[in-house]
């Protein structure tokens, strides 16, 4: 009896405890749910960025549509168009960006084909919605590919392609419908030539690649695409010629591009971000607007980088001598072209140091000049209020201002600025007795000399260093200018471009490497340019082998 009572009491206690425990567990579970919901709400309030990589492609179309709406946040230019695939008896959705797609392709090769009613097969059960069936039997677009990740699909949509989501299919079909209005191919503005081709790169990557492919119809021309820019997700193509290029440059370029953490490479200038020496004033990557120059670099064994959104394509590695080569050089007879190219070296040197030499000689060493010339300069400088250094600084600064204004202003106004600046201010300054006629000659010559530098990127550091040399010339005379030039030479010797010495062909490794000068510093007769530069360590060093007669 007692035992029974004890048992019943213990049973009732157990029941109570169990109920309480259940209640407690349920409360905890609810609390946890509330907590996770709260966290989700908080997260959703904080998250302004949609990250497509967190979404998975689902079998259910409704889920995918919900995800797409979240990702695109209701952007008006992105269309999510529902349709019914009659032959499959399933719902589907196509997603495309309004102004980047070819509507004709969408209408003719997607919409019409999917919504068309099958003729004789009404008795046959609808086939399974597979990627192959859709691609091979329904869609008639030329290029159809599959994407299994939402991130890849959204990226393709934002590039101008159309994504097709089908209910019950966990693969997205990507149909190439890209059509972006872009600038027509026009002559390169910053690299004009007399005899070279007239086409220049545009802002559209696909057009730029086609300009290159048009010139090199060879399957060994490899175009590798990578995406750069966390926000912009800009397409960048690494282009090289397989079998010629030393793959270390390709790997290095790829690594550097992939390591970039930036919003938009076209804004920051990818060139500067890829350089070995970002603090140096000298460029160690080459940019060009000319497809002929670009393809020539590829065939030399260099690597090209084409960025969507900019007409300036990059070639690496870039050496000092590359910046003094014009595209025209190889279209002229070799002897005259050699003289012109050597002249370019001389004018680059004078463009850099002529004002400094003037300051040094007039301030410290008039005896350097032949007596009649020294007397003429002395006479013209008589009564001037400024020492030659101030005089030179004023004139060179004026030159810089005019150059900058000429670039920024529209072309028609730019020429007016040059005339006003060059003739009126220069002449008026001399007449007013503020500057001497020789400094006007020095400034004009410096300006003309610096214009002969083919690449604007190279003329900029020389313009900067011109001031440094003038200060040294004013402080230490010709000794200061010489030491300044030595310092620049030391700096150039220290520079490297993608691991290769910046002065590569000008400081040859050995006697055999002197042959590199045949196409870099000099221009040999066409048949003699038979080897690729040794410093590029190409897989195939022979450029042409038909010169043995």
């Amino acid at each position: 009896m007692v035992k029974k009572n004890v048992h019943s009491i213990s049973n009732s206690l157990d029941d109570n405890t169990t109920v309480k425990l259940r209640n407690l567990q349920s409360t905890i579970a609810h609390a946890r749910q509330v907590e996770s919901d709260m966290e989700a709400i908080t997260r959703s309030l904080k998250e302004h960025l949609a990250d497509p990589s967190i979404y998975q492609i689902d079998d259910h179309l409704a889920t995918n549509v919900a995800h797409l709406e979240e990702i695109f946040a209701g952007s008006n230019d992105i269309h999510i168009r529902e349709l019914f695939i009659i032959s499959l008896q399933r719902k589907a959705v196509i997603v495309f960006v309004e102004n980047m797609t070819d509507q004709a392709i969408i209408n003719a090769h997607i919409m019409q084909k999917l919504t068309i009613t099958p003729t004789n097969n009404s008795s046959i059960l609808p086939p399974q919605p597979t990627y192959e069936y859709l691609k091979n039997s329904l869609l008639t677009a030329a290029s159809v590919s599959a994407a299994n990740q939402m991130e890849a699909a959204t990226k393709r949509v934002l590039s101008g392609d159309t994504a097709l989501f089908v209910d019950g299919l966990s693969t997205v079909l990507i149909i190439a419908t890209r059509k972006v209005d872009s600038r027509a191919i026009s002559p390169p503005e910053t690299e004009s030539d007399i005899s070279g081709p007239r086409d220049g790169f545009t802002e559209e990557l696909r057009i730029n690649v086609s300009l290159i492919r048009r010139r090199i119809k060879n399957p060994n021309l490899v175009v590798k695409r990578v995406t750069v820019g966390q926000r912009s997700e800009t397409d960048v193509a690494i282009i090289y010629f397989r079998g010629i290029v030393n793959m270390k440059f390709v790997h290095e370029a790829e690594q550097r591009l992939k390591a970039l953490v930036i919003d938009d490479p076209t804004v920051y200038g990818l060139r500067g971000l890829l350089e070995d020496h970002p603090y140096s004033p000298f460029p160690t990557t080459m940019t060009t607007e000319r497809p002929d120059k670009f393809t020539n670099a590829l065939l030399m064994g260099k690597v090209g980088i084409v960025v969507d959104g900019t007409p300036y394509c990059i070639t690496i590695p870039a050496m000092f001598s590359d910046f003094l080569q014009a595209g025209d050089d190889f279209y002229q007879k070799w002897l005259t072209a050699t003289l012109i190219r050597l002249g370019r070296y001389v004018t680059a040197f004078l463009g850099l140091s002529f004002p400094a030499l003037y300051v040094a000689i007039t301030s410290f060493h008039p005896a350097f000049l032949p007596t009649p010339l020294a007397l003429i300069i002395g006479t013209t400088r008589e009564g001037l209020p400024f020492p030659s250094f101030i005089e030179a600084i004023i004139m060179i600064s004026l030159l810089e201002i005019m150059q900058e204004a000429g670039i920024r202003l529209p072309k028609t106004v730019g020429s007016t600025v040059s005339i006003v600046g060059g003739l009126v201010i220069g002449d008026a300054a001399v007449r007013a007795g503020l500057v001497s006629p020789p400094i006007v000659i020095v400034t004009s010559f410096t300006a003309i000399a610096s214009f002969t530098i083919v690449h604007y990127n190279m003329s900029l550091p020389l313009r900067l260093l011109r001031f440094m040399l003038m200060i040294l010339g004013a402080s230490f005379g010709i000794f200061g200018v010489t030491m300044g030039l030595l310092a620049i030479s030391i700096h150039l010797a220290n520079l490297e471009s993608f691991g290769e010495p910046y002065l590569a062909p000008l400081a040859p490794r050995n006697f055999g490497a002197l042959r590199d000068l045949k196409a870099t510093t000099f221009i040999s007769p066409p048949k003699k340019i038979d080897k690729r530069p040794a410093y590029l360590e190409t897989e195939d060093s022979t450029r042409q082998s038909n010169n043995k007669e």
Partner: protein
């Protein structure tokens, strides 16, 4: 910092050797020679190169016995730790003295011909500071710099030097060998410092040269080139100033080029231009010596890098160059250094070569 993976081609050694030889003596040498050999000074200059050919040949043979290690290491290997260390120290001191002499002559020449009001300390610091900038990045950029400048500097230099031919007078070369051959042979002694460089530097560079067999050939080429230029300069200075005026002038080379004036041309007073190009040539010589001094010290002290030794060298070199109180003291020191150099190149090095051969013979199984 000497990267042990670095290699240099014989052509690069040629450039280093030529640059190392062209130092301060370019400006002062003709007066030292004229004092001894008078009209035959150019013959002394020519014959002086023979001594360097011999010394260089001995150095190459010695280095070839230790093709994987530098002069610093094989001195210790041959003589033992302490005597080897002392010999290395003496060699470094000799090299430092050469640099100090260059710096002093450089400062004097700059003050006289270019910057008469600038204090010597400013010129020295400018020169040494830039040299440190050039040296601290290692041998590869240093080589590139010298190669980049080589054709330009020697092209301009030889053009200016050659213009001196237009002003020479043949009477200054007469009479030839008037006092016999003895003064000519005695005149070979002051030429030693002029040619000094390749016989020491080969000891540092031999392990890194790619084609070791070609080192001797390219070394001889460098000495031949320098001999040609120095004989040409001596002939021109003698032809313009004459032996009497040359011996009484501190910097006769510059003085001779100051007198150059070719009527109805644009050419007159070439001393300034010669001085300017000499600044570049002298600087490339200076950086070679500073680099190998710092490299030698770093090796002696078993340091990973020679960057810190380069910086620490600066005050020592500045102090050393300031020691001689006047031009006469510089002249005496130069004489001492000539003898020390000869003792090193034609005394110590052959002894070490003999010792190396003996050791190699003993090691060979009978």
């Amino acid at each position: 910092m000497m990267n042990h993976n670095i290699t240099i081609s014989p052509m690069q050694f040629f450039v280093i050797a030529v640059n190392a030889m062209f130092g301060s003596t370019l400006l002062t040498l003709p007066s030292d020679l004229a004092r001894i050999a008078n009209e035959d000074m150019w013959i002394s200059m020519l014959l002086g190169s023979i001594l360097m050919f011999i010394a260089f040949w001995i150095s190459v043979k010695l280095s070839a016995n230790f093709s994987d290690i530098t002069i610093i290491d094989y001195h210790i290997l041959l003589l033992g730790r302490i005597p080897g260390f002392i010999l290395n120290l003496l060699m470094i001191l000799l090299m430092m003295a050469i640099v100090a002499l260059y710096l002093r002559t450089f400062t004097i020449a700059i003050k006289v011909y270019l910057l008469d009001l600038t204090p010597p300390i400013v010129i020295n610091i400018f020169n040494l500071g830039l040299a440190i900038y050039a040296v601290q990045y290692g041998l590869a950029p240093l080589l590139r710099l010298q190669q980049f400048l080589f054709v330009q500097e020697y092209g301009v230099f030889l053009t200016i030097v050659s213009l001196g031919i237009l002003s020479i007078e043949s009477k200054h070369y007469q009479p030839m060998l008037a006092e016999g051959i003895t003064p000519v042979l005695q005149g070979m002694i002051p030429t030693w410092l002029t040619y000094s460089g390749p016989e020491i530097l080969i000891g540092f560079l031999y392990p890194f040269i790619t084609t070791k067999k070609a080192a001797l050939k390219w070394g001889f080429c460098s000495i031949s080139m320098v001999t040609f230029i120095y004989v040409l300069i001596t002939l021109i200075v003698q032809g313009i100033l004459g032996p009497t005026e040359t011996k009484h002038t501190i910097i006769p080379t510059m003085m001779a080029y100051r007198f150059i004036e070719i009527p109805d041309t644009f050419i007159e007073r070439l001393d300034g231009y010669l001085m300017t190009i000499w600044v570049i040539i002298g600087f490339t010589s200076l950086i070679n010596w500073i680099y190998f001094i710092s490299f030698g010290i770093a090796q002696m002290l078993k340091l990973e890098s020679n960057r810190c030794t380069v910086v620490l060298l600066l005050p020592f070199l500045y102090y050393l160059q300031a020691i001689p109180p006047n031009a006469y003291a510089i002249q005496i020191i130069t004489q001492w250094m000539n003898w020390s150099g000869i003792l090193w190149g034609l005394g110590v090095t052959p002894l070490l070569l003999a010792l190396a051969w003996l050791k190699a013979k003993r090691k060979k199984p009978c």
